[in-house]
């Protein structure tokens, strides 16, 4: 299968290891990966802020580059939701409506592509640590991704998964919300971090780097030794 891998802007700039792990895993499974240069940003920041014209200007440019392969795989539930769920709405009644629908239909969040679409849950990974999993809200509620990451983690050698009581509670990131209402965002993050800490895990694993950016930012400010890591990196450890 030829797969267009869309590495979100902040993963590109801040967490390249997560993106590299996705390429290596997909290629090891025998797929051809393409990463067009002009996949910059999905347009979610202006979209979520209400600036849909500006979001369309960004998304309209990258939309044609997402076409031409068998599937589009996105390394974040949040950007995945943008393409799969919100592009058809954003481009409704525009000349790109059909293309947006076509792309949406073949778009997958990374873990769901592996476990849901390909039916692959065993990747021969080894990660001998106690971890807890954070469900990013967009992946969980817009895309319904809940079982796939856990099915993948279940087959990682040495890994012990301890669920936290607030696994499905928002970490408080929410894009521009985090800087528009930092006091609320921070309080939400504190609740999340406290719940993760309670589990005694060494790592918080997630399929969404944007949440991990927020959680890690708080943990390190708190001096909390708990670490964060993207699911793809865990699945790529030997």
């Amino acid at each position: 299968m030829t797969v267009t891998l869309f590495i979100p802007c902040f993963v590109d700039a801040l967490f390249p290891r997560a993106g590299i792990s996705m390429v290596e895993i997909l290629e090891r499974l025998g797929h051809t990966v393409v990463c067009p240069e002009n996949l910059t940003c999905c347009g979610q920041p202006p979209f979520n802020s209400g600036y849909w014209d500006e979001a369309r200007a960004v998304a309209g440019k990258i939309l044609p580059s997402l076409d031409g392969t068998d599937a589009v795989v996105i390394g974040s539930g949040s950007c995945g939701a943008m393409v799969k769920k919100f592009y058809p709405e954003l481009f409704a009644k525009t000349p790109q409506e059909e293309l947006a629908k076509k792309i949406a239909a073949k778009t997958w969040e990374f873990s769901d592509f592996l476990a849901g679409k390909l039916g692959v849950t065993e990747l021969g990974a080894k990660f001998p640590h106690k971890v807890t999993f954070h469900d990013g809200c967009h992946g969980l509620r817009e895309l319904g991704v809940k079982k796939s990451p856990r099915a993948l983690l279940a087959n990682v050698a040495g890994l012990e998964l301890v669920e936290m009581s607030e696994a499905e509670t928002c970490c408080g990131f929410g894009g521009t919300f985090a800087t528009k209402f930092p006091m609320i965002s921070t309080a939400m993050g504190e609740v999340k971090c406290a719940s993760a800490t309670e589990t005694g895990a060494e790592y918080i694993v997630s399929n969404d780097s944007s949440c991990l950016l927020h959680i890690q930012g708080l943990l390190s400010r708190q001096g909390n030794p708990l670490k964060t890591i993207h699911l793809a990196e865990v699945l790529n450890r030997k």
């Binding site: 960004v58 209402f181 930012g217």
Partner: protein
């Protein structure tokens, strides 16, 4: 101070209040356990939600017909029906009835519509004594506060605080035993029912088919409010109408499940008219005030019409991480939490209240829990879009135009990434000073360094 400044300053205080966070977490932790137990007793909870949403959709889409049917039936039994377009009209109608009856005191059962139109203030302004008979409402009334939550008005208070309040306001003995505190309130209230000239209620549902209203409660106070005074007034939002009596078979257990985690609340009463010839009790006169107050504007909004499905169960507030961290009073609205953030801009003006739609991470927990399937968090997104379309902020507009220009030009984007990498050491130097350009982030959180080589750098090099 503008509404947004009030919200931000209240949120700044509440979000740091660890005592508040703990009280709410404990209260809602208990709620979650009983709610989930009740949900599990439905044979098919998702099917029940779907049916409830379809029933409300039918009711709301034929609101004119169902309202007329409802009104014709209750009028036939001698009820006086009043139509109020807005809050001021609704207040005038009630004040006129009060004046006609030469009433001196009013007893009320819980009604969010009365909060919405600020009825108590209007009644007290003409010299009436108004008593809230719902325990939670009585507590916040004694504290001169608005209800904290649409179902649990005083959930932010501990029993020790209620003990002190009752000692000060009702002259009761020192106790923090919940049962004794309830008995203190009960004793204080009993005489009020007997002396009140008018009883004011809300309604949870209005049944078109039979011309009845349904009131759900746990304390029996609404029954006494409706039965004892000679005149009864019910203040009802027009969206409360349900087509058939049989619809209650779904909606009563659903409201109890999501509202309080009960199979059914202790009392569910149907009222179909004032005292009929030959009957021994009930009010001599019953006035029903049907309140629009911008609901028809919401009805005209095809995208957000489903917000009129709301049965005011409060379930979306209970799961909302924003509500849980800032509390009900911070919103400064009658309806708080996700449903409040969705409808307040429609009820009170988009530009004044758009900040509530922005104050959300769009996590969607509200939409997931809503028993009548209101697309709550997407409506927040639509409110954001609509507010920008109507009037955007110049700074934000320029920023996003600039962003869109760069993000649609890969060469420029690449250059921007490089520049950000060069500039980051400067930001690190400025961190924790007022000059930090990303201070809203860094005042409470660290920012990781940009990678020396981005993913795209790696991808280009390996080809």
């Amino acid at each position: 101070m503008s509404f947004v400044s009030q919200f931000k300053s209240a949120a700044s205080v509440m979000a740091k209040d660890l005592r508040h966070r703990k009280i709410i977490r404990t209260a809602l932790g208990n709620y979650e356990i009983v709610r989930d137990r009740r949900k599990a007793s439905f044979q098919d909870w998702q099917g029940a939600r779907q049916l409830a949403a379809e029933t409300k959709w039918e009711a709301v889409n034929h609101l004119d017909q169902y309202l007329e049917e409802f009104v014709a039936r209750i009028e036939a039994r001698g009820t006086k029906v009043h139509w109020a377009s807005n809050a001021a009209q609704a207040r005038e109608i009630v004040l006129q009835i009060v004046a006609d009856k030469k009433a001196k005191s009013v007893i009320k059962s819980k009604a969010m519509t009365s909060e919405e139109i600020h009825l108590n203030d209007a009644l007290e302004a003409v010299g009436l004594k108004v008593v809230e008979s719902d325990l939670g409402e009585l507590i916040v009334q004694l504290r001169k506060e608005a209800p904290y939550h649409i179902v649990f008005p005083s959930m932010h208070l501990t029993r020790d605080e209620i003990n002190v309040l009752f000692q000060n306001e009702l002259g009761s003995a020192n106790t923090n035993d919940p049962e004794e505190l309830t008995m203190i309130a009960r004793r204080a209230l009993r005489s009020k029912y007997l002396t009140a000239d008018i009883g004011i209620t809300g309604a949870n549902f209005a049944i078109a088919e039979t011309g009845m209203i349904s009131i759900t409660e746990n304390e029996g106070n609404a029954r006494l409010t409706a039965a004892l005074p000679k005149t009864m007034i019910s203040l009802i939002g027009i969206e409360k109408v349900l087509p058939k009596l049989a619809d209650l078979a779904l909606f009563l257990p659903m409201l109890a499940t999501m509202g309080t985690g009960q199979a059914l609340t202790c009392y569910n009463t149907l009222y179909g008219g004032p005292r009929q010839p030959g009957e021994t009790d009930g009010p001599e006169e019953w006035h029903v005030v049907l309140l629009d107050n911008h609901r028809t504007e919401l009805l005209a909004d095809a995208e957000q019409r489903d917000a009129l499905h709301c049965i005011r169960c409060g379930a979306c507030l209970n799961v909302c991480p924003i509500f849980r961290n800032v509390g009900g009073h911070t919103y400064g609205t009658t309806y708080s939490g996700p449903i409040g953030s969705v409808i307040t801009p429609h009820l009170r003006g988009l530009q004044d209240w758009k900040h509530l739609s922005n104050a959300s991470s769009l996590c969607g927990a509200c939409t997931e829990t809503c028993p009548v399937k209101i697309d709550l968090h997407h409506h927040l997104l639509q409110n954001r879009r609509n507010s920008v379309k109507q009037k955007s902020s110049l700074g934000e507009k320029i920023a996003f135009k600039f962003f869109a220009y760069g993000a649609s030009r890969p060469g420029l984007w690449k250059l921007g990434m490089k520049m950000a990498r060069w500039l980051q050491p400067l930001q690190t130097l400025l961190q924790r000073t007022p000059l930090d350009p990303v201070k809203p982030w860094t005042q409470s959180r660290d920012l990781p360094p940009l990678a020396l080589a981005s993913f795209k750098d790696w991808w280009r090099n390996r080809k």
